[in-house]
Amino acid sequence: MPDQSLPADRRPWILLSPALVFITALVVVPMAFILVYSFYENIDLAQDVPAFQFGNWQELLTDSYYRTAIWKTLRLSLIVTVLAAVLGYIPAYVIAMTRYRHKWLLLLLLIIPFWISFIIRTLSWIHIFGNQGALNGLLRLLGLTDAPLSMMYTEFTVIVGFIHVFLPYMILNIYVSLEGIDQNLEPAARTLGATPWQAFKEVTLPLSVPGLAAGCLLVFVLTGGSYVTPLILGGPSDFLFGNLVYDAVVTELNWPMGATLSFALLLFLGSVVVLYSKLMGMDQLSKAFGR
């Protein structure tokens, strides 16, 4: 029974307040500014006029250029998320269920790639997939091809790049869920006559869904907001909505349009979260946060 006296009611809020204040100041307020800025008018590079006009929003909604970009972003984010989930589940399961004494090491190894700058990691894919890269070198060594295979700067490379960056997030989230599952449940199911696969499917898998879902949400959202990976690894037609935001803000120095696009992206990703919470029930996420 939670303590009913006044101090206890306030206590969680006291604990939360620093974080909440920070987030309000650094996320919510700036977003409000962004919204206001989206109504301004841009007359020349870096010259904006305060106004309340819908030109930017109108352009966003009517021009198919932006619709294409949203569609591409949605599609790519889904692909990356699904692949990450499929690729990441098993390692998470193995780490959670292993009897290896140094489990922490396995988890640590996942984080270590982050220690090399993201740029170095992304640029180094050319050494693997490039014409003079390791993969082509291997294929030639094995006598499988004469001429190098052109693998770089395609959607494939972009997807690989994304998965490489986001897989640890997925694995760690699934792991967190799996680790909390009572280790006795699966054996109990077995004694009741279930096959190993059935035990997994009926017992473990459902219990790991909160972590899996959280991981998927995270990867989807992170992919959706990215722009550097497609810029470095992609060909001309591999771009995401984030690239359009970058174009507007940094290249064209059109802040009102950049603000409009930013807010639109926020709405888009936010609606994904809403969808997620409807499907999963916000309970699931907060269950992941504290059963």
Binding site: P91, F118, H127, S226
Partner: protein
Amino acid sequence: MRVWSLLKFYTILVYAFMFAPILVVLALAFNASQFGGFPIEGLSLRWFYKLAENEAIMRAMRTSLALGALTALIATTLGVLASLALVRYQFRGKAFITTFLISPVLVPETVLAVGLLIFLRWLHMPRSFALLVIGHSIIALPFVVLVVQARLVGIRKDYEEAARSLGASPFQTFREVTLPLLLPAVFAGALFAFTISFDNITATIFWRPSGLETVPTQIFGMLRNSVSPEINALGFVMICITVGLPLLAGALARYFSRKKI
């Protein structure tokens, strides 16, 4: 169990995939030729010498380390407090608060960066190192909360309740009971926060005050004139240093967790 062996093999493959670019970077750091391709033409340490002479990178490294450490400190503190609230207490609006806490992840980084710049301009505040610290902390916060609460959930309330019933104040209970049990996750969260700050590029480019370089922005700036394998050497050095750190942190964490009641 053949299935288990298959699963383990698959896991090893995934790890290999994760480390492939890194191994490439490491190998090419020693490549004598400037454009590092395969086959490697000769071994050389010259890029490491060039790196040591590169004062700018050294300065950037110091900045990145300081920034990361401060971010870890702030994000972890806020994250632990928030996790305690979420896990140990019941209150209304928990679902909403949860979303609110993870919202920095939901906002694309470019958007966050520009938004904060506009806000600052309205406040007539200049960019500063402090801004970078706070900004990075916000970006890292959701991840810290995620990791810490996962562990906190597993710590049974019985211990805390036992301590309370013996007369300990909430703060004492936290300090003597909860915190030691939580330490592995706190370290993990801090490590995560440090990593996120250290590796951050998008927001940092927008927020950094003049003259301040972090390692990622320095590398980004170097791209114009060449992707010198100097950068590969830098990657190698960074792994060496930074593998040592987590190993140390991990060892400490395990040491503390062995003191589990």
